[in-house]
Symmetry: C2
Subunit: 150 residues, 2 copies
DNA sequence: GAATGTTTAATTGTGTGCAATTAAAATGTA
DNA sequence: TACATTTTAATTGCACACAATTAAACATTC
């Protein structure tokens, strides 16, 4: 009974091609790569871009709020935000009303990046060749999964 | 004309919630986290699990072939495979017919992990609460995107 | 068959991700 | 007020990812 598993009795479920996890993992990374040429021009990384998307909209957010929205913890965000602070894109300061919290604010140099960034989504949509209904359907399915997984 | 962008003229396309990239990025990471409790029991990481999925099926693959299938380069794979070699899950040797290539082979200890791993997909499918048609539709859409992005 | 170009891994350096721990601040409770 | 609990960031350590470079082996061309 210790005979090694042959391809004959290899469960179909364990084949890479039948998994949902792999295309998800791979598409996510390829997506990030598709952003690269645009982000590189702005000296931005992909997660840093996500932080800016939130700060362009909300102007100020605590590290906790950023983490809740991006599903990232301080172990990831703290060093990332320190790098963004060094480049003068964001400010970091303690909340005087709750010294535990650190408030991240958008800075002028960070705001300036929006002019270039606003072109990115159209480039990506073109690259993906997805119709609007396809795009919406996929987005909703992923958001449903996200809800179930969090 | 240097007035900072207000939320009023903030393009809808630049909101995190309207992006496809973010749910993809987040779901992918949450998926990996959902595998964690099972993989942890086997002392496996998620990309190592993907390597094993391929080796259980193909028994031997070059680093190049693994990289082609997983869309990962040697900068990621070489150290990962060295760690797997240390744990006796895989073997690494040069191809005598082409000394540039390194052949990765599954070892008995790596094969043994399949007994536990074969339970993982069912656990995950249950966790996702996806019907078979939903599962298939999503998988196909992601594979289509993967093709367009590579 | 030497020169040139291509392919393949390995290496280096930077930036995430994330589990686990630490420490400070705030909150709840006796 | 004292004490325990909870919340929030920061820190530490490890494992990816990936761009860029290096070096060896192979292939091509003349």
């Amino acid at each position: 009974m210790n005979k090694p598993t042959s391809s004959a009795d290899h469960p179909e479920l364990l084949k890479l091609e039948n998994q949902l996890c792999f295309p998800l993992y791979a598409v996510s990374r390829m997506f990030t790569k598709a952003y690269q040429p645009f982000l590189q021009q702005m000296d931005l990384t992909y997660p840093q871009y996500l932080v800016l998307l939130l700060l362009w909209e909300h102007r100020e957010l605590t590290v906790k709020a950023l983490g809740d929205k991006l599903l990232l913890d301080s172990g990831t965000l703290t060093p990332l935000l320190k790098r963004m602070e060094q480049k003068q894109w964001v400010s970091r300061r303690r909340d005087p009303r709750d010294e535990r919290s650190v408030i991240i604010g958008i800075q002028p140099a960070g705001d300036a990046l929006q002019q270039q960034a606003c072109r990115i989504p159209e480039h990506l949509i073109e690259r993906l060749q997805l119709s609007v209904p396809e795009f919406e359907a996929l987005r909703q399915q992923l958001n449903t999964l996200l809800t179930r997984l969090t």
